[in-house]
Symmetry: C2
Subunit: 278 residues, 2 copies
């Protein structure tokens, strides 16, 4: 059975399906976590980092993470539907707390549910060295240390922020928090480059700490670069020599324009992209 | 076909089913809203208020609310499975933004999805005039005016707060916000009674503005009582002559004990309960 075009192939707890139990707590309360993984060269990229982060996020919500062996079995099933080799595409992993009856309480016997959704879609329209136009979102992220950093299924803030614009020229929005501190992009993490230092905001009050962010911080520091996790305000972004957005699909995009502010040429983004891909 | 015991009967867009599309944005992002409605005497109680609030909450998220006629058809189908008359139970209504492919953006053509889940379960264990034991939750609600008051599907804060205790004697927890202001119960709204005045916290920064809360405020004011929406701190709760929790299922429960603080007898709760039910 080939993958339906534009819909992908979905496994729920290892079985091919199109649906999940309508009583799943993922639907009822957003009670779960997820990952978006790039598939390239027949393999999920940064796989170990994704599984580690997924397990860490599950732990933050006291959800028992799936056995990595189960994800590997899922990958084999998905590959089997593509003549044994996964084409390039996007793999979304979801873990929910599973079936729930009613009410916020759950029991220790609640069995988590595992979703793997593979979508062999066309490549992203890559901006390359030209960079992207960005905007600043009006929505301000709320502070919630109990959930900060976790890629959980409560993503209405991101949905509302993304709905603020429909100009296809604008590829990402900058999210600030309630104190007007810069947090991230809507679908990405944010870095600035200035005076030979790579800086990204801390994510202990809000935001999602992505795998690409952690990887870039680690690899840049290992290569001898100065890397800092420091609060940033919008003027820091505007004054930056280069502004960068990271996630597992885009890797690194650089900002080319924010309203009247223009960054005409790449500074370190190409170098960092090679580092991240290496 | 009778309702499966303990699982209830679910309609998705009017069709009897156990499942929803795994790509629903309700699951992916908690992108939707819900209502929990008491069914009594063969009818959903406070039905018009629930449909109005559901529509208002949809509007806050720019989701087109279902036509009330569709909900009425759902009620007829559900009743048809119970010899034409709905038994006492709980009806949960959910509206999600519907099918999504990937990414936070949605288009104006995204068609919302409607769920109606009826569960003819045993009555709640009603504390009656004896009241309930309560606790104060450690989790502090974050501030998000863009979502405050809405009964949306992003409920991880409530899940985490409810997971703080498993003592079955404790029936509700008090939620404070990041500024230590009282907001609500975990599954209910909160009122205090003191000096002849009924007071509940404003919900413009966080919390869910329930139908029972609005109804109680309206009816109490109409009966000549002083009703205020004013910030409260924990000492206001402890100093109250009576502390009340409201939602559509419990109607009104009164607090009997919070740690060492004991409220031995009802003050106005019985009167308010009759008012709410009237």
């Amino acid at each position: 059975m080939p993958t339906a075009p534009g819909h992908g192939l979905i496994l729920v707890d290892g079985g091919i399906t199109e649906t999940v139990d309508a009583r799943d707590r993922g639907l009822a309360y957003g009670d779960g976590v997820f990952r978006t993984v790039r598939v390239s060269g027949g393999r999920p990229v940064w796989w170990r980092e994704h599984l580690d982060k997924l397990a860490a996020d599950c732990e933050r919500l006291a959800i028992a993470p799936p056995d990595p062996a189960d994800w590997h079995t899922d990958l084999e099933i998905l590959a089997g539907h593509h003549a044994g080799v996964l084409p390039d595409g996007v793999l979304k992993l979801v873990v929910t707390r599973g079936y729930g009856r009613r009410g916020y309480a759950y029991t220790s016997t609640t069995r988590p549910r595992r979703l793997a959704w593979f979508d062999p879609e066309p490549r992203l329209d890559e901006p390359g060295t030209a960079g992207i136009a960005i905007r600043v979102c009006r929505l301000r992220l709320g502070h919630q240390p109990a959930l900060a950093g976790v890629k959980h299924l409560n993503r209405l803030e991101n949905v509302l922020a993304r709905a603020e614009w429909d100009d296809p020229e604008i590829r990402e929005g900058v999210l600030l928090d309630r104190n007007d501190q810069v947090v991230s992009g809507v679908m990405s993490n944010l870095f600035i480059w200035r005076d030979g230092c790579l800086t990204t905001p801390p994510l202990d009050l809000c935001g999602v700490a992505g795998v690409a962010r952690a990887r870039l911080m680690r690899l840049a520091a290992a290569s001898g670069m100065k890397v800092r996790e420091t609060p940033l305000c919008l003027s820091d972004v505007l004054d930056a020599e280069e502004v960068l957005f990271t996630n597992s699909l885009i890797r690194i995009w650089r900002a080319a324009r924010l309203d009247a502010r223009v960054w005409p040429d790449p500074v370190v983004s190409e170098h960092l992209r090679e580092m991240l891909d290496g």
